[in-house]
Assembly symmetry: C2
Homo-oligomer: 302 residues x 2
């Protein structure tokens, strides 16, 4: 069975706050991302290509906190993080703090495929992008009025509680392809009003992203620091490998046990080596979708 | 039993290449770091204070690739990474790409204690340092002639094989205190001739550093990308928690199994919740030491 799952962030706004039109817009873009990734799997493409395709759609949408539409940091700049991992080879690539890369997931992929490294940061990552022929874009490409207003609100209020606006909204995808290979990708703009070069869990292999054919592929979203401290994506893999849990049970234990145990909020999407998908969160909702070759296709928010 | 272990990097030069005088100098500084950390534990101090004290001594020594004596990147600049984790609270702090902080482990500690974040990068991390009253130092403080010559050699040769000079040399410490609390700290200058803002495993919680009172504290050193891909420090914790392995058996399986399985080189120091120390590596040697309240005190290289 080939399968894919995607997320567009956990937490989100409560059901009562979201208009029907907004909800419909989110569902459309989630569906487009899901179908873009599934199309790759359906035509016998790889899980790595499928998660890249899905995340690229979410990065291109202004609705999510990744690529276009990402949140602003304290200085009014958009800084993007992304990662990707191939469960067959355990190869991985990630970037943090890039400002001019339209699709950070593609740059993470280049780091994985064409460098001896896993994680590149800041201007150095953009230097690598240029050497690889990636065309940089002006930072105005990423601008949305909605995110700018969120920054202004965050700046005017208490720094850390207000900064939670847009804390969520990270995007990601996990997939299981026809060869049984797993992959995961995650992309984010981080926290609104973030300061001091803060790096969250999205570009951290083992925290916001992990894939290993021996267990599962995971992409996470939420209060990043808590995902780093619990090494949550790798913890789910460990629960599957060493305690024999299903993807659903491992995701539940990690999110409702380890993560919530230290005060963390958010969610994960998981696909295991049989192609079984689990989506778990301890927040009001999580933008998410799943599709597989058994005919399942769903897009959900709450 | 209180106990501490330290490392000053794995790989190192072969026994035949090291003079007696060099070896003696390494042994002296390793012993000083070990005793500085142990003194904290002996006077009923915390494991977090002990690992901080030990790593600070190694950062201040020009012999190791951390703090003073760190390697140069491709642009001839020294960029430092460090991390610390408290196994009692699972709190953690880390910095990457700082250029003017004398003791990066102290800054990682401030991130843990005085920010809501785990990982701060680049100039933002130094902005945070200044806000915390940390005095920055000129980059000339870190300069050593030996490292400069290594850079020139690396620059003149094949980029990636030559870059392995000084690939190792990361420092770290793990400790178990009289309250049974565990902690780990790791600090590095990364790879000689590193490019593109490359970040290794040292500041990545779960890869080069991890501590959890439920299992163990780990500090790693070696070919960082492979430690990130195997999430090696957290893997050792998982082997202890979920497969019931001893610290020694878990370290052996992780280093000789997972790490070596994908071509990684290096080593780890581990202390478990009973204060048992394990030191494992798959390289020619690892600068290391261990001391505990049973009277053990050893400093070894090969």
């Amino acid at each position: 069975m080939v399968s894919i799952a995607i997320h567009g962030g956990a937490g989100v706004i409560t059901r009562s706050e979201m208009s029907d039109a907004d909800e419909q817009a989110y569902r459309v873009d989630l569906g487009r991302a899901l179908d873009a990734g599934y199309a790759v799997l359906e035509s016998a493409g790889t899980s790595v290509d499928a998660v890249t395709a899905a995340v690229r759609v979410l990065e291109d949408s202004p609705l999510f906190n990744a690529g276009r539409g990402a949140v602003f940091n304290h200085e009014g700049v958009i800084e993007l993080d992304a990662s990707i991992m191939d469960g067959q080879t355990l190869k991985a690539g990630a970037v943090t703090g890039v400002r001019h890369v339209r699709n950070p997931v593609d740059l993470a992929r280049l780091v994985m495929d064409r460098s001896p490294h896993v994680l590149l940061a800041g201007p150095g990552a953009e230097e690598f992008a240029l050497e690889q022929g990636v065309e940089l874009v002006a930072s105005s490409y990423f601008f949305t009025e909605r995110r700018w207003q969120q920054l202004e609100k965050a700046r005017s209020g208490d720094r850390f509680s207000a900064a939670e606006i847009g804390y969520f909204g990270t995007v990601g995808a996990v997939a299981h392809d026809h060869d049984g290979n797993l992959a995961a990708a995650t992309s984010t703009g981080g926290m609104t009003n973030k300061r001091w070069g803060r790096v969250g869990d999205s570009p951290i292999i083992g925290a916001g992203n992990y894939a290993d054919n021996a267990s599962c592929a995971v992409s996470a979203t939420g209060s990043g620091e808590f995902f780093i401290r619990t090494v949550l994506a790798h913890e789910i893999s460990s629960l599957i490998r060493y305690r024999g849990l299903s993807a659903a049970a491992a995701a539940r234990e990690a999110v409702r046990g380890s993560l919530a145990g230290i005060g963390g909020d958010g969610g994960v999407i998981v696909v295991d080596r049989d192609g079984q998908v689990a989506m778990e969160f301890n927040t009001e909702g999580m933008f998410r979708g799943a599709r597989d070759s058994s005919g399942r296709r769903e897009v959900e928010i709450y």
